[in-house]
Amino acid sequence: MTEDMMKKPRVGLFVTCLVDLFRPAVGFASVKLLEEAGCEVEVPMAQTCCGQPAYNSGDRADTIAIAKNTIESFEEYDYIVAPSGSCAGMLRKHYPGLFKGDAHWEARAAAFSAKVHELVSFLVDVMGVDRVTAAHSGSVTYHDSCSGLRELGIREQPRRLLATVSGLKIKEMRDADVCCGFGGTFCVKYPDISNRIVEEKTANIRAAGADTLIAGDLGCLMNMAGKLQREGSDIEVRHVAEVLAGMDDRPAIGRGQG
């Protein structure tokens, strides 16, 4: 084993349940980007979900059980990286608070949370990546997902890297920082309100005039893709990692083969 390899940071990839189930390409794109940035990537098999559905439904007991499983599966790594601002926000900002009053777990959670990052901000802020080698011909518009933006301060990092994708042009939409109406279980608990919010969003997306919509969270992307498709739009929808990793040759979200 060379010295170089020994110094590589070991990253545990938190795949996120939606990527695992609906869009594996985002997971592979994340691995590629992390490896290119000089990380050694592992994917612990015992991971499931970050626990947000339970947490945001007021179910503390299940949230805590899920959080313990996540912490145990990942605490050995130098960093824990997730291709989602929402899940990374949950792991980083909300886990320690779950264990208030339980000194042992509170300390473990705090140590774990300090190592958690969202993928693109990790590449830029921690690994110092300032360009990617991918190419993408056409224009994209970027939606700032809420948790990434407001909990983790992710705004410039994805735009900075996207600007280095050869052939890619960014066209900003109006109100890029306004919620898309997904909100996890919100979109099925209050479908009509969620629909009104996403309608507003897709109107802004279409007005931006880009061929592709990009964001860093698969939940938001599935919501916006589903709405655009219902509206008959042919704007393609992709996760930012796919474009940055040059893995945008496969069908866009919700597009299938036939």
């Binding site: 559905p53 503390r60 996403v198």
Partner: protein, 478 residues
């Protein structure tokens, strides 16, 4: 007002289908957000001021009893009277007694959310006393017999055309042919009509943005000057204020004022900031003969020391609702209570019970924009989640939701089971989509597919594929 929060879903559906309302709600989006941003950008120390505003209120809340007593002492020294009301009913009874003693038939009112909360107007009318709202927005909704739909812009749910029609209907002593096409002409007409009322009123009732312990003063901020006329012209001035309005000193008030108007309307300051301390003294050119303060608790002290205490920092600026996508979609009335938007979603369950107002803290995407703009740094999403936790632990949410969640959590807690189940279900679901990549309909996901397509899983899960890749790699190395 009648609490209709339990019917939030139905209210929301009606609001979404109401074209007039949707048009009016466009004004919230356009009117408040950019103005606030400009005001904030122009004040580099804005965030530092937010921190100091938060500490001032936290300190005041930690010593609430002390400051309230100090305040009472100062009011009394200045010749005023302080009345303590534990509930809305207590407050109404106290106010009625003051009005009766003054022989009041007409009372003018400045804009005040607490009198909406305790349903004062309705009560006074029943007792034969005529309340007249003097803030333009409040005046309009009083004409329409509605409740406010926003805490600083009570008539924001209406279009200019609707107000014009109301004025023509209600002010039928004025010539029909008059021009009311501009907002200014509406404002001037309301001014003229109200002017007469100020002189008829025996009692003037105002709320308070602040109570200052150091001086025993109550403070209101307005843009129309109606508050001044309400409290100076009648013989008796009654201030109705909830207990958390207290700040220690005038200097503290000044600090919080600097974030209030900027957050609310994007103004540096409201047009009028009116400080009143006690009744008219000998030699004063004007002022009331009697000065009363009704301090209302109505559930506040029960929030102290709980996870909801931070909500008592709220200064009612309205920024949270101005930036809320749910408020933008359905407007204030859908919330079915006095306080709408994110602050209402936290406060209303404290006031009327989470069993009635349970929808409100649930109807949020947790986008966090409210917390990001709240000048008092109130963690609104966190407190909505606390309400959800209370609901969950009391078994108040629908059974289908609970069972669905428990079933999902069972898998999420057991990774092997989860892997196994998803490895079977996901490829099957993918096949079921027949290569189209999405579903237009999906059993059990009607909430989603009613309005949008559902992207389908693309085949095997990431974990299945990763495991194969790993096995291949290791095989290759061996």
């Amino acid at each position: 007002m009648q609490i209709t929060s339990p019917a939030f879903k139905e209210n929301a559906r009606a609001a979404l289908a109401d074209a007039q309302l949707q048009k009016a709600l466009g004004n919230v989006r356009e009117g408040f957000i950019d103005k606030r941003q400009r005001a904030v950008d122009a004040l580099p120390e804005f965030d530092a001021l937010r921190d100091s505003a938060r500490s001032i209120k936290d300190h005041a809340l930690a010593h609430l009893d002390l400051y309230l007593e100090a305040y009472e002492k100062k009011v009394t020294e200045a010749g005023g009277h302080v009345h303590w009301a534990e509930t809305g009913a207590d407050a109404r009874a106290i106010i009625l007694e003051i009005c009766r003693a003054a022989g009041a038939r007409t009372v003018t009112k400045g804009k005040s959310m607490i009198t909406e909360e305790i349903e004062l107007n309705h009560f006074l009318e029943k007792e034969g006393i005529r309340p007249v709202e003097t803030d333009l927005g409040e005046y309009i909704i009083q004409l329409r017999r509605e409740s406010p739909s926003h805490i600083i812009a009570p008539a924001v749910h209406l279009t200019k055309e609707q107000v014009e029609a109301d004025f023509r209907r209600m002010h039928d002593h004025l010539p029909f042919a008059r021009d009311l096409s501009e907002p200014e002409s509406l404002l001037n007409e309301a001014r003229r009509v109200l002017r007469a009322q100020y002189f008829m009123a025996d009692v003037g009732i105002t709320g308070a943005n602040f109570l200052v312990a150091e001086t025993g003063s109550s403070v209101i901020v307005t843009n129309e000057g109606n508050g001044d006329l309400t409290q100076i012209l009648p013989r008796v001035h009654v201030v109705v204020a909830s207990i958390e309005k207290i700040v220690p000193t005038l200097e503290d008030m000044g600090q919080i004022l600097r974030v209030l108007a900027r957050s609310a309307t994007g103004q540096d300051m409201s047009v009028y900031t009116t400080v009143s301390t006690g009744p008219r003294r000998p030699g004063d050119p004007d002022g009331p003969d009697e000065y009363h303060v009704v301090l209302v608790d109505n559930g506040r002290s029960a929030m102290l020391g709980t996870e909801f205490q931070d909500m008592l920092r709220c200064i009612r600026c309205g920024a949270c609702m101005n930036h809320c996508p749910v408020y933008h979609a359905v407007g204030g009335h859908a919330y079915g209570s006095v306080y709408p938007g994110p602050m209402g979603a936290v406060l209303t369950p404290s006031l009327v019970g989470v069993d009635k107002a349970g929808h409100l803290p649930n109807a949020s995407t947790f986008c966090g924009r409210c917390e990001a703009v709240c000048p008092m740094r109130i963690p609104l999403p966190k407190m909505m989640r606390h309400w959800r936790e209370r609901e969950f632990s009391r078994g108040l949410n629908p059974a289908t939701q609970r069972y669905g969640l428990r079933a999902w959590a069972l898998f999420a807690r057991h990774p092997r089971l989860y892997r196994l189940a998803t490895a079977i279900a996901i490829p099957a679901l993918s096949l079921f989509s027949a290569g189209k990549g999405r579903f237009r309909h999906l059993p059990l996901a009607g909430g989603w597919t009613k309005h949008r397509d559902m992207p389908a899983p693309e085949g095997r899960t990431f974990m299945q594929q990763w495991r194969d890749r790993d096995a291949l790699k290791q095989g290759g190395q061996a």
